[in-house]
């Protein structure tokens, strides 16, 4: 009943135990207290099995047009989005509405299990789309085990018609969570920089999209260089750097109002902004006379607090999910390395010791790991380590992979990959925490600086 999939992947020998070899299971990373020795990489054969899930088009009790959308058409489209989400997770082999028969409204609560078993499906998703009395839509989402003939998920969503993709993502999240034991992550959004034009004069625009690339929208028009966006935890704002008026400054963009304001008034360059987990504070870097340090300021303004004061470059930073610590990068030792500190700047400690340079640390929303870019041997690779610097694992292998950002459940990492040469371009990618299931994200143009937000409120 399961589809076997042999995957060749590169792992660190030290991490080759059950943790790295079981992508699907809910696991806890091995405890690491001291700096575990970094060992040579080996290539391992890992066999993973993907659960087959049938996702027929959702039924409708009556084909009705709601805000220009047909409930019949939506039933097919929602199933398509669910199947694509499950496929992208790497854990499941969905049979989407293009490859299995449609269902009747009556089957939604009474599946024909024999039919789905005949298709070798371990599970089957059923659902319906119905016009609600208030001009919206009601979407039902059911998951069944075909062998045990039991119901595993039953959920319903009342939504505005324009939000139908969210209903699909929430259904996919319910299925994923029930089957994998992990927290959901599909119903989330990504802010990033859309790139176009020649390498020497790239046009870089702030853009946002759903986690699967849907509902794509450009925010800025490209007249000013835009870089390093981050969604606020409530998704209402984006903090980013704009080269507006030929200065380097951090702005907070209000998505609904379409307006932006400076995070802090300064004649100095401000950059590398990050939100605190509660959205009340912003971390940023500021260069004064060539020396860059890290500051923290209320998102509503006020007096910034300077957190670092070494003569070297202290830059970037990311809050731990409990808001008590910050991980950042500094070249105070002579090369870029990763450090942690308390949010008042005390107790600054280096945690990266693996050789080469380390940059762009991002704390996992689960708190257990820090993702980073490691530079060395002519390559930029994305990896993870524990907050104390142990258990380092590299997840990607390419000429230039940079700037990891975490899925809301801390299981998937997005980053951008740059190709070399005069025609070199940047594109968005994602990879599982285990180093498998590497995929490119579809975007209308080239892309860089992805930033994955939390589960939508």
């Amino acid at each position: 009943m399961k589809r076997s999939l042999a995957t060749r992947l590169t792992l660190l020998a030290a991490a080759m135990g059950a943790f790295a070899a079981l992508p699907a299971a809910a696991q806890t990373p091995p405890a690491t207290t001291e700096d575990t020795p970094r060992t040579a990489e080996v290539v391992a054969e890992v066999s993973t099995e993907r659960t087959v899930i049938a996702v027929p088009a959702f039924a409708t009790p009556a084909v009705v047009n709601v805000a220009g959308l047909s409930t019949g058409t939506l039933g097919r489209q929602i199933a398509d989005v669910i199947a694509a989400d499950l496929e992208r997770s790497g854990l499941y082999a969905p049979l989407g509405p293009g490859s299995v028969r449609a269902i009747t409204m009556g089957e939604v609560r009474a599946p024909q299990f024999a039919d789905w078993q005949a298709r070798n499906a371990d599970n089957v998703v059923h659902g319906f789309v119905q016009a609600s009395s208030t001009g919206g839509l009601v979407v039902g989402c059911y998951l069944y085990d075909t062998a045990l003939q039991t119901e595993l998920v039953r959920q319903g969503y009342e939504i505005q018609p324009g939000d139908w993709r969210r209903a699909a993502h929430k259904c996919a999240d319910a299925i994923y969570s029930r089957l994998s034991g992990e927290s959901p992550f599909f119903d989330s959004r990504v802010a990033y920089i859309a790139e176009s034009g020649p390498k020497g004069n790239r046009i870089k625009r702030l853009a946002i999209m759903d986690s699967d690339g849907g509902n794509h929208r450009f925010i800025t028009n490209g007249q000013a260089l835009a870089i390093s966006p981050r969604f606020s935890p409530d998704y209402k704002k984006i903090v980013y750097v704009s080269y507006l008026n030929n200065r380097v400054r951090v702005f907070i963009y209000d998505i609904n109002a379409g307006t932006q304001k400076l995070v802090t008034e300064s004649s100095n360059a401000t950059f590398a902004p990050r939100w605190s987990p509660d959205g009340r504070q912003i971390l940023y870097s500021m260069a004064v006379g060539g020396n860059t340090d890290i500051y923290r300021v209320s998102a509503d303004g006020g007096t910034p607090v300077r957190l670092t004061s070494t003569p070297g470059i202290d830059v970037g930073g990311s809050f731990s999910p409990d808001g008590r610590k910050i991980v950042f990068e500094s070249d105070r030792s002579g090369s870029q390395q990763i450090y942690t500190m308390n949010i008042d700047g005390s107790n600054q400690q280096r945690i990266s010791f693996g050789g080469g340079r380390y940059a762009t640390p991002e704390w996992s929303p689960r708190g257990d790991l820090i993702a980073f870019t490691r530079m060395g041997g002519g390559e930029f690779r994305v990896g993870v380590m524990t907050p104390s610097g142990g258990g380092e694992r590299l997840l990607t292998n390419s000429w230039q992979d940079e700037a990891p950002t975490w899925s809301p459940n801390g299981r998937v990492i997005q980053f951008f990959r740059t190709s070399p040469g005069r025609e070199g371009k940047s594109t968005l990618w994602q990879v599982d925490l285990t180093g498998v299931n590497l995929r490119r994200l579809p975007t209308p143009q080239d892309g860089s600086d992805p930033s994955w937000g939390p589960i939508l409120p």
Binding site: A269, F271, G289, T292, F380, E402, D449
Partner: protein, 172 residues
């Protein structure tokens, strides 16, 4: 025609020689910026507005608007000092002119760090100009990090050209 060609070749050889002696100047020089083409010839400076970017480049030379840095470095060495001294002389003759010092890094660094590195480089150039008498209030600084490479390849030569601080006239 023949004479002109010979002159051009001598000029080219001279530039190559200078390049070869330099400690860290790129092996291959990028094309001259727009408006400073070599076809202006030995004319009488027709149409060059005093105090303009064009005037500046005519004075300091096509590549005299920039200094180059070693990997991850931001120190101003003897060759850079000569370049900046030439810029300072022009700035002294045009006291009303303001300039922007653009700091840049090569593509082989992470984005935020490269902005910080470009800040270091542009400030190092600004500080040297100030030390030889240029009023620092005439100099704005901006870092482009790796966002605006001058050479587009992914080679050591291209990266050497991109690790730079460029002085740009912004008017008066």
């Amino acid at each position: 025609m023949t004479i002109r060609k010979t002159t051009a070749m001598i000029a080219a050889i001279t530039m190559l020689t200078v390049g070869a002696c330099a400690k860290k100047a790129p092996d291959t020089l990028p094309p001259a910026p727009d408006g400073s083409g070599t076809d202006t010839g030995a004319g009488t400076g027709t149409g060059v507005v005093p105090g303009s970017q064009e005037d500046f480049l005519a004075s300091v030379g096509a590549m005299g608007d920039r200094i180059f840095f070693d990997l991850d470095q931001y120190n101003v060495d003897a060759q850079d000092q000569a370049t900046l001294q030439s810029q300072a002389q022009w700035l002294a003759r045009n006291p009303a002119v303001r300039v922007t010092l653009e700091g840049h890094a090569d593509e082989r660094g992470t984005r935020d760090y490269n902005i910080a590195l470009g800040e270091r480089r542009a400030n190092a150039a600004k500080n040297y100009l100030a030390s030889i008498g240029v009023d620092p209030s005439r100099i704005d600084v901006i870092s482009y990090g790796k966002e605006r490479p001058a050479a587009l390849g992914s080679t050591e030569e291209a990266w050497a050209q991109n690790r730079r601080a460029v002085t740009v006239v912004i008017g008066r």
